[in-house]
Amino acid sequence: MNVGNFPFVIAALLVVFGLYALLFKRNLIKMVIGVSLVETGVNLFLVMLGYRSDGAAPIYTYANAGERMVLPTPQALTLTSIVIGLATTALLLSFAVFVHGHYGTLDVRKIKELRG
């Protein structure tokens, strides 16, 4: 089915929403969600690059002869990126836990001892 440019628009919107959360939200956890949204948008963009109209999953076993397949490389890239995103989100959240333990607050406008 022809999806046109719709997924790319959605990916761009996800990135914009993530940047909005990073720029305007005060809570540390909401900023981590913002980072996660940007990452989701980029992953969606990456997967959509491989899509071919009416393509099947890129598996040779039991595939029909001469069948059109989507590109497998972006799928591999996206899997790698998702795993990296997992690691970074875990590290960000653990830092948020420690920051809350030390400062007592999750408001980013109060966590500014390192300034100047």
């Binding site: 990073l22 960000l92 830092f95």
Partner: protein
């Protein structure tokens, strides 16, 4: 001919990675075994880097590739062209030069850590993260593939932030860790977006292939968006103003030897900026614009970095702002080179002819690239010295320290050497590279040269302030019974000081042997870089 040097690119990544994952196991045997193991791994890595550099610089100087996979496997694309399935490492002059820098800084930082890390537990994890950071930096410098570069970029981000926030009992280090991790992740995602755009446009992730496609098809709108994202994301990781605000937090809160290695991390991102600008996008009518973007960033970085350093009261934040300022000098040198190269290309001159000391663009590039090495050595020395100072005086505040020079004579001497070298005082190495940058940027615009020289003088003022606060005067506070730093801390500092003095007294030899091939690899080595991968042409 298969010598160890041909396998060095992949071993430089594999050996620290092995060390990183084996260190917690070896650490169960005790502290001495862990220190011995990490010391061996780091020494082996440094030897491999030296072997790689010696093999490249003494040899033919042709870029060489190292392939994992691919010799017999190819997939046919719909266009009929077959593409080998492989992961590619490519070593050209600039990569070999950067591996030397990383090896030197890692050697000094790791050996300093053996005496510096005195906590009773957590040492294995600390060294594990340090080796992981090293593996990531070497990966960033040696890879020939864009997505592989992104993966190594994220490895360094995670390892670096783990080290910054390692001491979880300190309040500010957690704040610094969170801030730096958010910014590193965001810039990594922008780099990934750019890689995705390039993949969508050209169908390949291989740097040489994308470069040749851009060369033949020209720069499209998608390519320009990717260029903008790559430039800004990687310049942020390098610490260019106005995106530099994470840098004092990061360098200031990390343990002292790690700050030195984080500087190598920033320089690897700067190397990536140069690789993107010269090799990927080095052809086209608008490369002068890229050069001017670099020059604008450079001037801002130099000036804001050094002026903000003057008002810091925390010793490590002061040195960190100095490090940010020096990144501006590297950007300035290479930016001037890029602008000049653009005018030469448009004017139709052959670039290879102009790759001598008679063309100010090439001289600027030599200066900028040489400054990367000098800055890594000097800032490394300064951070290690600050670690010894903070150990001795128990505080990081310059207002509470004083009088350490009475007992800590060697540390004082090393601090003076590092400070003078970085501020560009003859006869140290900082003067040699800054001399090239001043003279070459003067020919493009005298304003650039004026800003550079004035900021060097102000950097000397900054270090005089730090020196007075920490070393001069009567003994204050804990400095009353401070002793000289232990030998395990003095030896790495001495090694870096020796590098500073040697590169200062014999700059001609090092510029001809190491820096000029690196500058040539960027200046006109684009075709050789592409040819090494795609073969012929």
């Amino acid at each position: 001919m298969n010598t160890l040097a041909t396998h060095a690119p992949v071993l430089l990544i594999a050996v620290p990675l092995l060390g990183a994952f084996a260190t917690p196991l070896v650490g169960k045997l005790g502290r001495g075994a862990r220190d011995l193991f990490v010391g061996l791994i780091v020494a082996l890595t440094a030897a491999l880097a030296g072997l790689l550099a010696a093999d490249f610089f003494a040899g033919s100087g042709v870029p060489s590739i190292y392939v994992l996979g691919g010799q017999g496997l190819s997939i046919p694309l719909p266009s009929g062209m077959t593409v080998p399935i492989r992961i590619l490492f490519e070593v050209d002059g600039m990569s070999a030069f950067m591996t030397l820098i990383t090896a030197l800084v890692t050697l000094a930082g790791a050996y300093f850590s053996f005496s510096y890390w005195r906590e009773r537990s957590g040492g294995s994890m600390y060294f594990s993260l340090l080796l992981l950071l090293t593996a990531g930096i070497f990966g960033m410098e040696l890879t020939g593939d864009m997505f592989n570069f992104f993966v190594f970029l994220e490895i360094t981000s995670i390892a670096a932030c783990g080290l910054i926030g390692f001491r979880v009992w300190l309040k500010k280090s957690q704040e610094a860790g969170f801030k730096v991790m958010t910014l590193y992740t965001l810039s990594g995602l922008f780099v990934l977006l750019a890689v995705a755009l390039l993949y969508g446009q050209h169908g390949a992730l291989n740097m040489a292939f994308i470069a040749s496609q851009i060369g033949t098809l020209g720069v499209t709108v998608v390519d320009k968006i990717a260029l903008g994202l790559l430039l800004t994301g990687l310049a942020m990781k390098a610490g260019a103003v106005p995106m530099h605000m994470w840098a004092p937090d990061a360098y200031g809160e990390a343990p002292a030897p790690t700050s030195a290695i984080l500087v190598a991390n920033s320089q690897a991102s700067l190397y990536a900026v140069f690789r993107v600008l010269f090799t990927l996008f080095g052809i086209g009518a608008s490369i002068a614009t890229n050069g001017w973007i670099l020059i604008v960033l450079a001037v801002l970085t130099i000036f804001v970095g050094v002026t903000m350093a003057l008002v810091q009261n925390d010793l490590k934040r002061l040195i960190a702002y100095g490090a940010v300022s020096q990144i501006g000098y590297m950007l300035l040198g290479v930016g001037v080179g890029l602008v000049r190269r653009a005018s030469l290309v448009v004017g139709g001159a052959a670039l290879a002819d102009k790759a001598t000391a008679l063309d100010y663009g090439f001289v600027a590039m030599q200066g900028g690239i040489f400054h990367m090495l000098n800055d890594a050595a000097c800032i490394g020395l300064l951070f290690l010295t600050s670690g010894a100072v903070i150990r001795a005086s128990g505080t990081r505040d310059l207002n509470k320290m004083g009088g350490l020079a009475h007992r800590m004579k060697w540390t004082t001497v090393f601090f003076i050497i590092g400070a003078f070298a970085l501020a560009g005082i003859p006869p140290f190495n900082g003067f040699a590279s800054k001399f090239l940058i001043y003279e070459a940027s003067f020919k493009l615009s005298p304003f650039l040269s004026v800003i550079a020289i004035l900021s060097s003088i102000m950097l000397l003022a900054v270090f005089v302030k730090a020196f007075q606060g920490a070393f001069l005067g009567p003994k204050v506070g804990l400095a009353v019974d401070a002793e000289e730093a232990p030998l395990g801390m003095l030896v790495p500092m001495a090694v870096l000081a020796l590098v500073v003095i040697a590169f200062g007294l014999f700059p001609g030899f090092f510029v001809d042997t190491i820096v000029t091939p690196a500058a040539k690899a960027l200046w006109y080595g684009r075709d050789a870089y592409i040819g090494a991968v795609l073969g012929g042409g």
